[in-house]
């Protein structure tokens, strides 16, 4: 039952083949039995999940009595097990954003998306591990220990939504919420072999989402196929008055444009113009990643798409631009953690001493590094040289995409230059870590919708194809992703399960660990 897609579960639930309680029990049991060696979850709330499943079953029973029209009107994710990333605040549950500074923090309200998910009757099983405050590309920067990759337990799942990606890949839930500031949905989706969509900046309300970089943060969805991702995005997208950046632009009904039939889905590609940015194929890219990408592009072309060479000339400036803007905004957002009102608190004398001690012991290394970078970039004398300069280059990066989209309907590109790297491999070199997001960062800087879909394996590890659309055109991106699924439905890699899943069934397996840090004492 855990192997089913959400849209398959939905059909079975409506037909009465099984109950939501049975579906949820199966997932909760599997998650408990196989998460020790994975550490995708920070907590599972069995009691709340089972109560939500029972409520979903009651809704299903009511609709079944009322007739087929009432059944058809039920929300797509009713009774379906999903996960929240640990930065989604929910009433009465902990939300730490992977940080010690929020240890024990219990929400006194629900995030907008938590309200929407509850109203849709989807069943939240718990919250997933993440890089602290979403700062990272590997989930190694969680204060609560790293998450392993279900395809190779000694490798990272990507990040920062690594727990969500690993939980979906390991069949612990059908879909999961992630957030993406510079690649934090798309890159872990690619590395865990699942689908992950970051919608346009402003598409989903961030009310109740613990903030990282406010001009970049966006909520999105992960799942095992495009339709499941579309269903979760549909559930949470749209205007909310409590987030002034959430857009009033209407959200289309994604399901109607994502046919179940493969031939119908593939038809979208005929005559479609897809841009291939030449700057994304550079030395340093894994040869296996490039080979899978070229195959995916050939498949799209063979199905009728026209592949157009495009240039995004400011691609190489994306990394520096992002790593000025995001830390600057983070340094301001994280000023709220003062050890006075909630969370980790160390009393060490006067007010200043309390701040220094609480923040110094509550934040981890990567968060401190970014707060330092951001504080410096915003400090007197450097503001124009760094922050304003980066915002000017942001204009150029956005203009690159605007120019490309005059000629093409969407852009296809690799999601990450490499497959999942070994745990610990990049911890000592922040710049090498940052490069893992070199091709997702510019998309975030421009605020565009981007999705990663699996496109095969290299060295036995998943590779992701990134599809980037015009602002607000999530629908077009989803249609292309669904079409790509359709034309590769018979590919040999499609049927493969993550290769380390059998190992996770061993109850004596040890939790994922980082190699001993090579830091000075």
């Amino acid at each position: 039952m855990t192997r089913l897609f959400a849209h398959e579960m939905a059909r079975g639930l409506r037909a009465g083949d099984y109950s939501s309680r049975e579906v949820v029990d199966a997932h909760v049991e599997l998650a408990h039995a196989t998460d020790r060696g994975l550490h995708a979850w920070l907590f599972l709330d069995d009691a709340r999940a089972r109560a939500a499943a029972d409520a979903a079953d009651a809704r299903l029973a009511g609709a079944r009595r009322a007739g087929t029209a009432a059944l058809a009107d039920l929300p797509a994710l009713l009774g379906i097990p999903v996960a929240l990333k640990d930065l989604v605040v929910t009433r009465g549950q902990t939300s730490t954003a992977g940080s010690r500074i929020l240890e024990g923090y219990v929400g006194s309200f629900d995030a907008h998306i938590a309200e929407r998910i509850a109203a849709a009757g989807a069943v939240v099983l718990g919250k997933t591990n993440m890089d602290e405050f979403a700062m990272g590309s590997s989930t190694e920067h969680s204060a609560w220990g790293p998450t392993a990759n279900p395809w190779a337990l000694d490798r990272v799942p990507g990040g920062s939504s690594g727990g969500s990606a690993a939980a979906v890949a390991a069949y612990h839930c059908a879909a999961a919420i992630g957030t993406d500031t510079g690649g934090s949905i798309r890159q872990p989706a690619a590395m865990c072999g699942v689908v992950g969509m970051k919608p346009t900046y402003g598409r989903v309300s961030r009310y109740g989402i613990i903030a990282f970089a406010s001009s970049l943060d966006q909520v999105g969805a992960l799942g095992r196929d495009v339709r499941d991702v579309a269903a979760l995005l549909q559930t949470v997208a749209g205007r909310d008055g409590r987030d002034s950046t959430s857009s009033p632009i209407a959200v289309p009904d994604y399901a109607t444009s994502l046919p179940e039939d493969d031939d119908a889905a593939a038809r979208v590609l005929r005559g479609l113009r897809l841009g291939l940015p030449r700057e994304y194929f550079v030395p340093g890219m894994d040869p296996g990643v490039e080979a899978r990408l070229r195959e995916a592009v050939r498949a799209l072309e063979a199905a009728g798409a026209e592949i157009v060479d495009v240039s995004l000339p400011h691609t190489d400036y994306g990394l520096a631009t992002y790593y000025i803007i995001a830390p600057a905004e983070a340094s301001a957002n994280l000023a709220r953690y003062d050890g006075i009102r909630f969370g980790h608190s160390v009393r060490d004398g006067d007010v200043l001493a309390n701040y220094l001690a609480s923040r110094g012991s509550g934040f981890g290394d990567e968060v401190k590094r970014r707060i330092m970078l951001g504080t410096y970039a915003l400090s007197a004398g450097y503001y124009d040289a760094y922050y304003v300069k980066a915002q000017q280059v942001r204009t150029l990066i956005k203009a690159d995409f605007d120019a490309a989209f005059e000629d093409v309907d969407a852009i296809v590109a690799p999601t990450s230059p490499t497959v999942a790297f070994p745990l610990g491999a990049r911890l000592a070199d922040p710049v090498a870590m940052y490069l893992a997001d070199a091709w997702t960062l510019p998309v975030s800087v421009a605020g565009l919708p981007g999705m990663s879909v699996p496109c095969g394996l290299s060295e036995g590890l998943p590779v992701g194809l990134q599809i980037v659309g015009r602002a607000w055109d999530e629908e077009g991106v989803l249609r292309i992703g669904r079409a790509y699924e359709a034309i590769t439905a018979d590919a040999d890699w499609r049927g493969l399960e993550p290769s380390a899943l059998p190992l996770l069934a061993d109850p004596a397996i040890s939790a994922p660990r980082l190699p001993a840090p090579a830091l000075p004492a």
Partner: protein, 102 residues
């Protein structure tokens, strides 16, 4: 970039104080090296002449999003104080910040 500085140990300590981060000597030493390495990566932006380019603070064209100015539901004092490390009545407790106060 008009000014491109190398951060000294004293600079790192100053920024840490501005950021209200109490760092150990080991952390300060490590950060000095890492921050300078990261700042070196920023140099690439100086290749671009942006004198005539307007900065982009946000990418979606929304303006003046305001809500109606009406009272709505809010947190109760107990909810707002539920995570307080130290509480007295309906107040958060902080050390004395004004000399001579009690």
């Amino acid at each position: 970039m008009a000014r491109m500085a190398t951060l000294t140990r004293a600079d790192v300590e100053h920024v840490a104080l501005l950021a209200r981060l109490g760092l150990t000597d080991g952390e300060l030493a490590l950060l000095e090296g890492q921050l300078n390495h990261i700042l070196d990566q920023y140099l690439v932006l100086s290749e671009l002449d942006t004198a005539a380019i307007a900065p982009t603070a946000q990418v979606i064209e929304l303006e003046n999003i305001l809500r109606e100015d009406v009272p709505g539901a809010s947190l109760t004092p107990d909810q707002a104080l539920s995570g307080a490390p130290e509480r007295q009545g309906d107040y958060f407790v902080v050390p004395v910040v004004v000399e001579g106060a009690d």
